[in-house]
Amino acid sequence: MSSILWIKNGRVIDPANKRDGTGDLYARDGVIVDSLSESELKAAEVIDAQGAVVCPGLVDIHVHLREPGQTHKEDIASGTRAAAAGGFTTIVCMPNTSPVGDNPGTIRRINDSITRNAIVNVYPTGCLTVEMKGEQLAPIGSLKNEGIVAVTDDGLCVQNNEIMRRAVEYARMFDLPVMDHCQDASMTQGAVMNEGYWSLKLGLKGWPSAAEDLIIARNVVFSRQFDAHIHMQHVSSAYGVDIIRRAKKRGIRVSGEATPHHMYFTDECCKDYDPVFKMNPPLRTEEDRQAVIEGVLDGTLEVIATDHAPHTADEKDNEFDIAPFGIIGLETALAASLEVLVHSGRCDLSFLIARMTHMAAEILNLPAGTLSTGAKADITLFDPDAEIVVDPDQFHGKSTNCPWNGKRLKGKVLRTIVAGKTVWDGNQITAQ
């Protein structure tokens, strides 16, 4: 028997199809359809979306699910539940697991777990280099055969330019985008926060933005030389945004992502040594923050991604120097982005949704992010004006390292639908 879905009276925003207006949306057997017959309408599961935005399921191309190896922090089941609660129907997981995703067996193991445990769509990435050591190319072709959608040593950055050059050339052969965590490690030894006024004042070792800019510039050079797509992850510096902007104007195939936290917070947040604000790349200055936002607004940074990085409370409850880098973001990304971009009046809803749906999907050629007829019925309903008080204890992932803890934000996910089935109903996870 067919499963029929009829979402009524919502404000349907589908930027890929330039649709923005009140109307209905239909799905049959997990696929978006133009219309339903009278009998199908009678048999449909009806969702009254009056007052809600109905958009393609959100897409996050930068998530750490910690499986295998660190499942005490997160696993594919818990991470995808967090994604569902955050309105994400498609996520891309990073390969810096334990063991790392540098061999077909590990990717197969991840995919097996995805099949068994994921409640949203998950696509794995593979490593650029063996053991992420930056010394020897990973078997990228074999990883592609296992279904990876991009290659990256995320969490680390290939320091050797010759290896990076070969990785870029080699990955291009398989039409795989290279995602890069841009960090010149020689400049960031022992660094725990942005280098600047606050690091000087607090006596914490600074992480200069130049360490990011240099690698972005290197990647622009390689992208141009080999006509390869290199995606700059979590861009945090003003000059880094500018380098990407100028490269794109020259037609170079680079792309970039902004995280909600780099758009929301600055390094001043570290002033009480709270490790919940310790992240890599670090929170930077107000000038950098504004530049990242401008980068999103002018299209330099096409996509918003969370860099969801779970760590246990015990690990984060430490001296700033000792605590690990990273914060979670799946369950706050929409509200935080709405706050910075839409409620501030800097862009409209459709603009933001585009960057969290089809434009994100297009970076890695994922079949997601649109409500086109025939597309998979991955749909998110949210109320952009409903206020939430962020409470990580109510989150669905395993970790609570959230810098928005206690903040009031506007934007509540009312329903998340994957392939026509509700996985999050606004209050609880409903996926089996």
Binding site: Q189, L200, G203, L204, D272, Y273, F320, D321
Partner: protein
């Protein structure tokens, strides 16, 4: 004096930055009081008899540790020392766990020296007893700044308004420099930083100080030159080429000392790398107040311990 003590409300001493000028004055007034008492009656004061102070020194220290120990004993307190090598922290125990053990053992105050900036603040949020920062990474060393400014006041007069204090050397990695910058700004002095650009970033100007990399002009008109230990073991080799090069460009010798005003004093938090940042002939000269700094460290630490414990237990004042 009791009124001053009663007005002190801080349980902890974490930083100079968070203190008001009045609070600095209070510490100095009480330190002066203790110094006068000790000059006539060096036997212990009974003020903290029966109290236990835990010196938790996770990072090696000799001078500061001994100064705190003597200060606590002069106030009649018992002192227990936990050093890095003997600490469970070397076995992977977290600072939070250690803190809870401290509380369970009913220590009345913790003096913490730690290599991680921010660790005393972290500890103070966990513990109900006073936490006194004895140096946290490159952040602050508040009691050092208190004794330094106390010494300056003794030598230059109570008001430091308009006095030029030049701090020379490794500013970037120095908690002493940061605490002194904050203290001297609050006391109205004018602070000039000097040394190689890699150790004296221009960004320090945002803390309200001058950065003058020309040693001659940095020393000219200074009332005080405060030298900092070049911690070659802490810095990567990228910050300056060698101790020899540092000495040849920035070491204070007799010739460079002649650029100072005749009555300018020379300070150093110790230990001195003799012949590197400071020549022995100057370290031992009558312009040097290095040993007075050490002595004043006792009285200022007595004052800080007493004030914080009194703020945490008002009964102390009447006892």
């Amino acid at each position: 004096m009791n009124e001053l003590i009663a007005n002190w409300t801080r349980k902890d001493l974490i930083s100079i930055e968070s203190l008001t000028r009045e609070e600095i004055d209070t510490v100095h007034a009480l330190a002066k009081h203790f110094k006068e008492i000790m000059a006539t009656n060096p036997a212990s004061l009974p003020s903290l008899r029966g109290r236990t102070i835990l010196n938790l020194f996770i990072e090696p220290s000799t001078r500061t540790r001994i100064a705190f120990e003597i200060a606590a004993k002069r106030l009649g307190a018992d002192v227990t020392l936990v050093e890095q090598a003997a600490s469970s922290l070397t076995k992977g125990e977290s600072l939070r766990d250690t803190a809870q053990v401290v509380e369970a053992l009913q220590a009345d105050t913790v003096v913490l020296r730690h290599s991680a900036a921010g660790s005393p603040l972290y500890l103070s949020k966990i513990l109900n007893v006073p936490v006194i920062n004895a140096g946290d990474g490159a952040h602050e060393h508040p009691t050092q700044a208190l004794l330094d400014t106390f010494t300056m006041r003794e030598k230059l007069g109570q008001s430091l308004e308009g006095k030029k204090i030049t701090i020379l050397g490794d500013i970037l990695f120095s908690r002493v420099a940061r605490s002194n910058i904050f203290a001297l700004n609050k006391l109205g002095a004018s602070v000039t930083l000097s040394g190689p650009a890699t150790l004296v970033p221009d960004g320090f100007r945002q803390l309200g100080v001058e950065v003058d990399l020309d040693l001659k002009s940095a020393l000219a008109d200074a009332d005080v030159v405060m030298l900092l230990r070049i911690q070659h073991e802490r810095q990567t080799s990228t910050h300056f080429p060698s101790l020899g090069e540092y000495k040849s460009l920035y070491g204070l010798n007799q010739e460079r000392a002649s650029w100072l005003k005749p009555d300018a004093i020379i300070m150093h938090p110790g230990p001195v790398n003799r012949g590197v940042e400071l020549d022995s002939s100057l370290a031992d000269s009558n312009r040097s107040v290095i040993l007075q700094q050490v002595a004043n460290g006792i009285f200022n630490r007595m004052a800080v311990i007493y004030l914080c414990m009194a703020a945490n237990n008002k009964n102390l004042i009447s006892e």
